[in-house]
């Protein structure tokens, strides 16, 4: 199970780095992101044959080449309130306050079920959703390491459900918006990498859950 655990840990790191790249710039965070990108690059050989990897590599290259000042000014232009590219799910998938409420309730529910308390500052923010996926991948890695099939299946189910109902639904819209807004390569590649990773993980989590169910007779 070591290799599955390793892949889950790598995905945990990928989601985390993606989450950080969609937060407002801060000096100390920038250093962490660079260190994280280099660290993940060293250990990402396990993900190389997976189809999201080419997109991930482009993001990682864009991150290592990016200049903090440039990133900061683009962030303000694109993502600050009133900017052309909102980073909230409800801005893309919910057209009226009622459905916005439904989406937010569903996300909050997912966080609570996983034992997390959602912050008051937008549970549907891209960074929050990616950070949540990072948390779920971490829990999955632990379950692989401990050989806990019940816990593992629970984590896999949570991942595929959350990705299917949220990230996979609105990331394509975000990518399209970034493409038309002449975004900095870092953000565009980041959104594309998140989309590719989310689509892949949704199906892989479902596949593993089904296979585990058959293997364990559950």
């Amino acid at each position: 199970m070591k290799r599955w655990a390793r892949l889950a840990r790598l995905r945990q790191g990928m989601y985390r780095l993606l989450a950080l790249s969609f937060l407002p710039s801060a000096d100390d965070r920038w250093g962490q992101m660079m260190a994280g990108a280099r660290y993940l690059r060293q250990g990402d050989s396990i993900a190389r044959p997976l189809p999201f990897y080419s997109q991930w590599r482009l993001f990682s290259q864009a991150l290592l080449r990016a200049q903090p000042q440039e990133v900061s000014s683009h962030y303000l232009r694109l993502f600050e309130p009133g900017g052309p590219v909102p980073l909230w799910e409800t801005a893309y998938v919910a057209i009226d306050p009622l459905s916005q409420g439904e989406v937010l309730a569903d996300i909050t529910q997912a966080y609570l079920r996983a034992g997390l308390r959602p912050s008051s500052q937008g549970p549907d923010h891209l960074s929050a959703e990616l950070e949540f996926m990072s948390f779920l991948c971490g829990s999955e890695a632990t379950a692989w390491e401990e050989g806990e099939v019940t816990s593992l299946r629970r984590q896999l189910k949570r991942q595929s459900r959350f990705l299917d109902r949220h990230l996979c639904l609105w990331l394509p819209h975000l990518v399209r918006r970034l493409e038309t807004a002449h975004s900095l390569s870092l953000f565009l590649q980041g959104a594309r990498a998140a989309w590719a990773l989310a689509c892949h993980d949704r199906d892989m989590a479902h596949l593993l859950d089904m296979e585990l169910a058959q293997a364990t007779g559950g």
Partner: protein
């Protein structure tokens, strides 16, 4: 699109000349690299293919371990949808001109790669190889080699589900497509990548990169240019490629081969067409559908006097694929070289292929396997309400109001025999509408025809349309003598509620 072709140097041991083939590939506008020992050491793909947009790998024999090439190509950043593997030495065995066949196969693969439309992350789904044993707890100790299957996506801008089209839903053999609130949804886990929905969609709204009709058409066109007396065999990923005088066209499933793809090669000089069914491995499980379609094709060819054996169904087995020689009667036509191939899918493609083959010959036949239909409207019982036109996904039935007349026109060229018009007709029980599966080439050539018409009753107040005269009469007849016929026909639905 940067297309790279990797050729195994060992092809030289099988009567082929890899360097000559590499020069041919470069003349066709792609990069080519001859790799020593590519077949025994496929990991070289990772180094050689880095940076390419699409990859064609020409090997000596078919790979034993499924996914080996795909895995190395993925590691080089190549999407599984943009990868083609041709067991070149194997397919050229038994051919009178092996180099000619190898060049034709490469030209087909290059044309297909150049037509690759790009892909989205949703177009891929991981799966475990079908022949691997079930994963057990113990098997989870190692990371199984995942393979990736194509999955179609729905282009919302082209999809006519909002207008009531459900053709893809009815065609899917695995109930993977669902309609909800005027939108088509795909249950990814139920999809087997058979591609039936992709070729069935009259609007080409279902897109499956790597297997799209334009890519198949590009491959067909390139193969037909260099056919040299060979037949075309449509094979799915489960079928072994044909040897001898046959050129392979890759399709997701035999059931997904449209009628147009069976007929166009004949009108472009190919002597015969084989549809290869993979037997128990079939993704769609719709062998009967293939049999019916091929049966219709054969009946049509016989009626046209071209010989029914030109299109036939073949079965692949564990021992391989053995097709009879396509030699026999000469080609149906001698086409002009360089003529672009007509569309394979979409409304009108099948009818155009039938007309292209029949020239001016008139044939009228009925057949259960026909993907074309002829709607029959009985002018005596049809009330010209236009409900059928509203439900028709291809607008083969049109409802028009002109001055004080209403009419229904029917265009047999774009009828896909989906039968949605029958389901909605309020007068169906009285025989107002019927659908006959078949083809009438004279009618196809005539194009749209008015099938019924009537006078339009106009509103006394606003002069807007009330209904057709026949509909008013029918409603009055149904309501009985208690309702004033004059009153019912006087005002339109908008004016009826207003004080007169």
């Amino acid at each position: 699109m940067d297309v790279l072709v990797l050729l195994c140097q060992d092809l030289g041991h099988h009567g082929l000349h890899p360097q000559t083939l590499a020069r041919f590939v470069e003349e066709e506008g792609a990069r080519a690299v001859v790799v020593p020992g590519l077949c025994p050491r496929p990991h070289q793909i990772q180094r050689e293919a880095r940076g390419a947009g699409a990859l064609v790998v020409a090997t000596c024999h078919q790979w034993q371990a499924e996914g080996a090439i795909e895995r190395h190509a993925r590691a080089a950043g190549i999407s599984p949808l943009a990868l083609q593997v041709i067991p070149l030495a194997r397919i050229c065995q038994g051919d009178a001109d092996p180099m000619g066949k190898a060049q034709a196969a490469l030209a087909g693969a290059l044309a297909r790669a150049h037509a690759f439309p790009g892909w989205r992350p949703e177009n891929l789904r991981p799966a475990l190889p079908p022949r691997s044993p079930r994963v057990s707890r113990r098997a989870f100790l190692s990371l199984p080699s995942l393979v990736y299957r194509p999955v179609p996506t729905v282009h919302r801008g082209l999809c006519a589900a909002e207008r009531g089209c459900r053709h893809c839903v009815s065609q899917c053999p695995h109930e993977a497509l669902l309609e909800e609130g005027g939108t088509i949804h795909l249950r990814r886990e139920a999809c087997t990548s058979c591609g039936l929905c992709v070729t069935a969609c009259p609007h080409q709204a279902l897109q499956m990169p790597g297997w799209s009709p334009p890519e198949v058409a590009a491959q067909m066109a390139a193969l037909l240019e260099r056919r040299g007396g060979r037949g075309l065999a449509f094979i799915c990923p489960q079928s072994p490629p044909p040897g001898g005088p046959w050129l392979a066209v890759n399709v997701p499933c035999a059931a997904a081969v449209p009628l147009a793809a069976m007929l166009i090669p004949l009108s472009r000089g190919a002597p015969a067409v084989a549809i290869v069914h993979c037997g128990a491995l079939c993704r769609s499980g719709r062998r009967s559908q293939v049999e019916e379609k091929v049966g219709f094709c054969q009946t049509l060819l016989e009626a046209l006097g071209l010989g029914k054996g030109r299109v036939f169904l073949a079965e692949a087995s564990d021992e391989g694929l053995h097709l009879p020689s396509p030699a026999g009667p000469a080609a149906v036509t001698t086409p002009r070289p360089g003529l672009p191939l007509p569309a394979l899918a979409g409304a009108g493609a099948d009818a155009a292929a039938v007309m292209g083959l029949s020239h001016s010959q008139d044939v009228s036949l009925l057949h259960a396997g026909s993907p074309l239909g002829m709607v029959q409207i009985d002018p005596q019982t049809c009330t010209v309400c236009g409900t059928c036109a509203g439900a028709c996904p291809t607008s083969a039935i049109r409802y028009t109001e002109e001055e004080a007349r209403v009419s229904l026109t029917f265009d047999p060229q774009i009828c896909i025999a989906c039968g949605q018009c029958l389901e909605v007709c309020p007068e169906r029980a009285r025989g107002a509408i019927a659908l006959r599966r078949g083809v009438d080439t004279a009618r196809l050539r005539r194009g749209p025809e008015t099938v019924t018409q009537d006078q339009l009753v106009l509103c006394r107040r606003c002069q807007g349309p009330v209904a057709s005269q026949k509909m008013v009469e029918r409603v009055i007849a149904m309501l009985g003598p208690h309702v004033s016929a004059q009153r019912l026909a006087e005002l339109c639905s908008q004016c009826r509620g207003l004080p007169f």
